[in-house]
Symmetry: C2
Amino acid sequence: MATHKLLLLPGDGIGPEVMAEVRRVLAVIERKGLIAFEIDEDLVGGSAYDVHGKAISDEAVAKAHAADAVLLGAVGGPKWDGVAYEHRPEAGLLRLRKDLELFANLRPAICYPALADASALKRELVDGLDLMIVRELTGGVYFGEPKEITDLPNGQKRAVDTQVYETYEIERIAEVAFELARVRGNRVTSAEKRNVMKSGLLWNQVVTATHAQGYEDVKLDHMLADALGMQLVRAPKQFDVIVTDNLFGDILSDVASMLTGSLGMLPSASLGAEDPVTGKRKALYEPVHGSAPDIAGKGVANPLAMIASLAMALKYSLGKPDLADTLDRAIAAVLANGYRTGDIYVEGAKRVGTAEMGEAVAAAF
Amino acid sequence: MATHKLLLLPGDGIGPEVMAEVRRVLAVIERKGLIAFEIDEDLVGGSAYDVHGKAISDEAVAKAHAADAVLLGAVGGPKWDGVAYEHRPEAGLLRLRKDLELFANLRPAICYPALADASALKRELVDGLDLMIVRELTGGVYFGEPKEITDLPNGQKRAVDTQVYETYEIERIAEVAFELARVRGNRVTSAEKRNVMKSGLLWNQVVTATHAQGYEDVKLDHMLADALGMQLVRAPKQFDVIVTDNLFGDILSDVASMLTGSLGMLPSASLGAEDPVTGKRKALYEPVHGSAPDIAGKGVANPLAMIASLAMALKYSLGKPDLADTLDRAIAAVLANGYRTGDIYVEGAKRVGTAEMGEAVAAAF
Ligand SMILES: CC(C)[C@H](C(=O)O)[C@@H](O)C(=O)O
Ligand SMILES: CC(C)[C@H](C(=O)O)[C@@H](O)C(=O)O
């Protein structure tokens, strides 16, 4: 049995707590002899800064390169608010994305039927919601240069960020979106601000051209990013796959995930290009939710998004879609049995903490 | 009685229809001898392009400079999708904002009690909602240079947009937000992505510094723009005034307005700096909704946002807060009497078209 290399990066805030539940599930999988793991762990974010003086060590990045899949908890927190920009916790995550060229960020927004009432939206608008945001992750304003604050002669400051996209970057993310749509609802909505941004104009043109080169079977629509923000709130079920740039994807996917009422449930995958020889792609899996410093260390965080991220890794990186399904079913079963952490609690449910929730999933596996 | 100069720019799509209802209300106000107007009208957007080959003529811009208030309908539509970037309909609006230095865009998101059930959100989350987004409108990625698409040696293209903010631009918009908060709920939430953008970092620092210089009585919070997008959906009533940059403001204000269920009801004001001598500020008023080309020309568009924009003009630019109140009360009365255009229609209400709605408001005035 081949051994699969996993790198766990628990990170900050509730990261370590939810990652502990992934360890618990991994142990069960191994004990059952279903798959053999070689598990390593390292620091990222503020916890790395506290030890190494930077948000990720070169050694940890090298480990990430060598891993079959990286699982990341969360980064950031007020503790590091004063840290220099270059060393802020997020820099560790951004370096991983860039160094591993994880250009495709897949963020499903699914409304679990058992949780539809937890949504801020009316039940009928979100019940059965299943959309996928495909966010470009290694370009745009996140990485463009110049990115700087300079002093002006008048004593004031001037800050500059640069949004840059080249044709190939848009092409490859559009391809990911079209491929994904084919195994889903066969519809892609591309979002940009072509009425204001040149990068939006190029985005629109390249997505259209890519569509014409072999993806005409997929239905393609274009929507302005602000209008899409509105439509997400008004009628989210109209969407199947949404493809958009790094910054719009950041905001719109957060809005979309919150619609579901299941934020604490949502995993994400960040994927690189397929290696032409091995067919493998570098990948990092993490919950959509953040480090939630306000509840960190209290044992109340919901570990299901982190565990669902492991399921995604089993499916997309470790060649075990059957195990992924089993794990997803275990999560659904636990919910159906009424187990709820505080974030998804409803009257009459069984209120549990992080560890109890993890134990329940492990037992149901 | 002094004469007030109004410039009407109906624009595209439903713009002319809803502006016609403003004319109707203006006629009633004049007939009652309450205020004297000197009303001029001109073209903007696609309709200007069709006549002049550009999205606004220099003459129209000159008229806008000379006006006490500009009222704008909406710009844009698929008809002009093929028009060169420099001449697209939006360029007319953007030129007006920039030339008149209308740096402060006030976008209220109010949930009219009569319309709370039209919201996608659960009634209890939006009933009584009254927040104000203060969006920076003449800086950021909308206007920064370079903004271009270039050809690369490899045959691909490279698109660049530049987000630029200088200290004074952030300072003056923060001041507007703090001043507004003082006559509202006394709380300001500033949104940026300081964890990714240098302009976000400077934004955060300057807002904090401005707060310390005489606005400490106002409660100030900072929130990442993606987290704010989430919180808008989860619990919008937590906010009073939100201050943010041009691009985040574009998206977040659209999300916020859609929450209310009252999109067709929401006006906005774009204000310049106060003239130190006359105390006047240049101003443009427009509905938050767009040109809605799908329903244009059918006489079904909701004119209330456009009429409410006139009310804002009466209050902020024409020194007639009493008339503004009367007009706002007329709108509320018409709603209370069950008048509804299609966008806000509910079972059992009186379904009316654009003109009937305008007539009803004029009659209730
Ligand atoms: C932590 C932060 C740098 C990150 C981002 O902005 O991409 C986060 O918000 C996300 O969406 O993964
Ligand atoms: C029409 C367009 C240029 C404009 C913008 O992006 O600012 C619009 O969306 C708005 O919010 O007023």
